[in-house]
Amino acid sequence: MLHDSVILRVVVKLLLPPILLYALYVQAHGEYGPGGGFQAGVTVAAAMILYTLIFGVPEAQRVVPFAVVRTMVPLGVLIYGGVGIVGLMLGSHYLDYTVLAASPPDGNHIGVVLVEIGVFVTVSGTMLSIFYSFSSKIEDGEDAD
């Protein structure tokens, strides 16, 4: 890949922390401004894809192993479904967040935050695992030539 260029390596190292920080901001601030789990998840995945493009797949998989990414895919759905189950346990309907806190609006707020975390985990995990699968194909092709 492109790991020979010093400029690219340095610039990417400078760019990655702000991108990841921005993704976290988008995730945490999604209730007040534009953003939420989808946007944050995609941004994190894009940051990791940038890292992979510059430093190569083995280096990226040392930072975020494939197994972790694969686990994140069902984990997010589990978090989302789990929030629904908790509502069920506390004597309300499935995915009814109003019982999660003392007052219904706060419960709604907490529920939305938890659900967005679930969405974030699944989206970032899926995007990265898709990208890893494609890049493993490319490595295969390069080996064959």
């Binding site: 953003g35 995609v42 967040y97 659900v115």
Partner: protein, 175 residues
């Protein structure tokens, strides 16, 4: 935007088409931003211009960059497309004018949501609260769709290593 679209239709070098696709996505994100859909615009910029472009490039790296010349004359598809377009333009005459606050879509549930969002959820962003709270089931289903897509891609690309090596050796060389 129109020029970029025509470029996408005409060009046969798939690499250039993918790059135009990225430009197209950014233009679309800008238009969505102007139309007040800030959340959607952000997602389109990240997904359309970022992830999709990278995935398409990855596919091109594995497959071929040149598109073969079309064998069939384009008359029939063009006719189908034009007839569809004419029917849609005929239908668009009956739509409410652009940006009209009295349009039927703005009368029924939307004001209700906007009025109830802040007292009921303490979340100022109406899009987030409707997405995750009022329409929680839809978003759960959507997360499941993404989950399924991830599983599908993993099953297609990772499960079987190098199935037909004998005739697939020319695969990665054209990038």
């Amino acid at each position: 935007m129109v020029a970029v679209t025509i470029g996408i239709v005409r060009l046969r070098n798939l690499f250039a088409v993918v790059m135009l696709g990225g430009i197209y996505s950014f233009l679309m994100a800008t238009i969505l931003y102007v139309l007040d859909a800030v959340d959607v615009s952000m997602t389109e910029a990240a997904v359309g211009a970022g992830i999709s472009t990278v995935l398409l490039l990855a596919t091109l790296a594995v497959t071929k960059v040149r598109e073969a010349a079309p064998i069939h004359p384009p008359a029939l598809p063009l006719a189908v497309a034009l007839v569809t377009g004419a029917a849609l333009i005929y239908a668009s005459v009956d739509m409410p004018p652009f940006g009209d606050p009295l349009g039927p879509g703005h009368q029924h549930v939307a004001p209700e949501y906007i009025a109830r969002v802040l007292p009921e959820t303490h979340i100022p962003n109406a899009v987030t609260s409707v997405l995750a709270s009022y329409r929680g089931y839809d978003t759960l289903g959507e997360t499941t769709v993404i989950f399924t897509a991830g599983i599908g891609v993993l099953a297609l690309l990772v499960g079987r290593r190098r199935p037909r090596r004998s005739d697939g050796a020319s695969g990665g060389g054209n990038a």
